[in-house]
Amino acid sequence: MNQQENRRGDASPPPFEELVKMYSERIYKLVYSRIGDYHDTMDVVQEIFYRAYRGYSSFRGEAHPFTWLYRIALNTTNRYLSKLGRRKEVSLERDFVHMDDPQERVELDEEKMKLRKMLTKLNDEHRTILFLRYYEGLDYKEIADILGIPMGTVRSRLSRARATLEKLMEA
């Protein structure tokens, strides 16, 4: 890691340690929103940053480091989820509503709790795009870059995700 630090000047991407400090919590939240289990999330997050570390020396700053890291995070989580799918050991509707989980100390009122529960009913694609827009606050262009899809698709996918969520809330 020191090599990377030394090789990069001020204008270059930050040292890997800085990257971890800046983005680890955001990556954790993204993965948790898709997996919903503390231990599995930790495994996946560590794998993401190890992959990032291995690839960081070849990262030339073509994209924002966060976008680059986010892509790794999404791909690594996709692989993890597809393995789960093949093994069929865990339901795709894994619940991240366990309030006894020590990682969740957030008090939510009834409606927000319902919203949280309904989020688990959404498919992974919809949940991810809602997370990027409404938790991360990313604009459509940034979401399109991270997911590698056109902006029009971002817009229509968000709309479908929102419509599905609203239907679930009304049910």
Partner: protein, 234 residues
């Protein structure tokens, strides 16, 4: 703009601030005169506001530290494995060329033996064969603070300070009295064992994947710590 023109997608983009100026003004004008669409807009805004909180989760403390330690260990392991593989290749090459010609021919005739060696090396490197015994025998839990004043006895038989624990190694405790719970941690990760009766020898299969030094600390019923070494996965 009329109601039918204000689709969910456009309303959504309006809420997200992603419309061009002209369309945005058209939407605003329509919302001012249409209570039905204003209701849709308010519901949309409410969900957008609540989503941030609904997604919120507290990451573990020291997350960056945990990640960086993991990266360093895995990188060290990878480099060690590569160095070891290079050394083995170098030694085999050296042995081959150091042999006299007659010896080389003999060595070539003994190809099955070389093949067998290669197979052994590959077998130990197969990730599927990793032993993960701690998942079967002990429960990974969040750190539990030790109880003060607990004077019960437990002895750590293995590893002792400086011992080398192999990948298929074990942690061994001897209980001097009935103990209902043993809490220990390796490199900061806490484990809990259900304990046993006085005189029991408790063997816990434990396989650190990472080579190098590891810190083993018993937290309950006594506090003690040793540093042991692992060869890791070679």
């Amino acid at each position: 703009m009329e109601c039918r023109e204000l689709t969910d997608e456009i309303l959504q983009a309006y809420i997200d601030g992603e419309l061009d100026e002209v369309t945005m003004r058209e939407v605003e004008e329509h919302l001012n005169i249409c209570p039905l669409c204003r209701g849709r807009y308010k519901r949309g805004m409410k969900i957008a506001d609540h989503l941030k909180e609904a997604f919120h989760v507290e990451p573990p403390e020291n997350l960056s530290e945990i990640i960086l330690n993991n990266v360093k260990r895995r990188d060290y392991k990878r480099r060690t494995t590569l160095a070891l593989a290079a050394s083995i290749a170098f030694i085999i090459g050296l042995m081959f060329f150091a042999l006299p010609k007659g010896g080389r021919e003999t060595a070539q005739q003994q190809k099955p033996i070389h093949k067998e060696k290669v197979e052994i090396v590959q077998k130990t490197q197969t990730p599927e064969e990793r032993v993960i015994p701690q998942k079967k025998t002990i429960n990974k839990k969040e750190p539990v603070p030790p109880e003060k004043g607990d004077t019960s006895n437990i002895y750590l038989v293995f590893p002792d300070e400086g011992d080398v624990i192999e990948e298929t190694g074990e942690i061994v405790f001897y209980l001097n009295r009935d103990i209902d719970r043993i809490v220990f941690n390796v490199d900061g990760v806490e484990y809990v064992h259900n304990g046993g009766k006085a005189g029991d020898i408790i063997t816990i299969p434990f396989a650190p994947e990472e080579p190098g030094p590891h810190n083993l600390k018993i937290v309950k019923p006594i506090e003690t710590a040793v540093v042991f070494y692992s060869l890791g996965e070679v």
